[in-house]
């Protein structure tokens, strides 16, 4: 490139409309007088137009199923979301209460099909002493296991959890040792739980 021509990056910025007014005017003046740069800008714009007009390429239908089959065959690496030490530290002010109530809530998210959408979701809280885990197989749908449903436990008194979710407009009840929530979207439940006052609910991953 001969001396005096603007750089590629300047010409690109000009084509993209990213230059401030005075820079832009100076470049436009050069381009009006310089066929080489004028052509370069024309090409950059033409290349952009051609790319943006490129037709969409549709994925083959069986791809989605192939991906799911891969997921079936490979366990994800598990990651403890919050380390136990950190959990204890965060919950320190509540430790006594928790020890007395001895509550562990577990949230199960399941769906009716893998493509997502509204399904019956339940957030469950168990009141087992000593925080015993109860994975009662009341989760009727046999497909849940096939879907690789995750089971997570959150610490907190079920009644409080239920009351909180209710206050957020969700249909939550304490049923036996659990909190059952009916909601259209598990994300919404998870979001509400995460936003619960008194600190975020700590989630511990358990093996299924």
């Amino acid at each position: 490139m001969a001396e005096g021509h603007p750089s590629e990056l300047d010409l690109l910025a000009l084509a993209e409309g990213e230059l401030p007014g005075d820079r832009r005017n100076a470049l436009m003046q050069h381009i009006d007088a310089c066929p080489i740069c004028a052509r370069a800008v024309g090409e950059v714009e033409a290349g952009r137009a051609a790319l943006r007009a490129a037709p969409a390429v549709e994925a083959p239908r069986q791809l989605r199923r192939r991906v799911s089959a891969d997921l079936d065959a490979h366990e994800p690496p598990r990651r403890v979301y919050v380390s136990p030490m950190r959990l204890v530290a965060l919950l320190a002010p509540l430790t006594v209460v928790l020890a007395l109530v001895a509550a562990v809530a577990s949230i199960d998210f399941g769906g009716d099909d893998s493509s997502g959408g509204g399904g019956r979701e339940s957030a469950q809280a168990d009141e087992g002493a000593g925080g015993g885990d109860t994975l009662d197989q009341e989760l009727d749908a046999p497909t849940l296991a096939e879907e690789g449903m995750a089971v997570a436990s959150v610490a907190g008194p079920p009644r409080q959890v239920a009351a909180f979710l209710k206050s957020r407009g969700l249909d939550a009840r304490v049923v036996g040792r659990r909190v059952v929530v009916r909601a259209s979207d598990p994300d919404a439940v998870a979001r509400e739980l995460a936003a619960r006052p008194g600190g975020p609910i700590q989630v511990v991953v358990e093996s299924p």
Binding site: A40, E43, V67
Partner: protein
Amino acid sequence: MAARDPDGDLVRRAQRGDRLAFERLVDRHQARLFTLAARTLGSRDEAADAVQDAFLRAWRRLDSFRGDALFSTWLYRICVNAAHDQRTRRSAEPAELEDVAPDPRDRFAESRLSDEIQTALDALDETQREVVVLYDILGCSYAEIAEVTGAAEGTVKSRLFRGRTELARRLGTAGARGESNT
């Protein structure tokens, strides 16, 4: 920490082993990933293999995603690498890439993309092709592309400039008939 990631909630759930959450991420990103792979590789079959491979890699390495970049950026990077590996495999076993006169009514059976833009894209250098596809077809920013490709932003811009220019010349548009070679 990147600005709020629209995939953040699903990613966190998937990282706890929630398969359903990951399936939703697949549903969200499959079409764009496929476009990225198909336009980079120029073949539907190879693109499907690359995308399948990319999602599996993402699933298995999900714990290594730290949220420093957007999840979509992380996914694009994995996909670009998977497509690159696919391409390397192709050249390892040289098959003739000649046109097979496909039945024009059987769009899905025809694996090779043969529209004009693809023919021009195929002629680009791989690094330029990645950048123009990411910027102009997927709408990524310079910063995202820098993350995806591991190149500096200046390099990304230069590749965009040259890739677009080269495309225009091959397509013969905008009076882009210049003889001057770069």
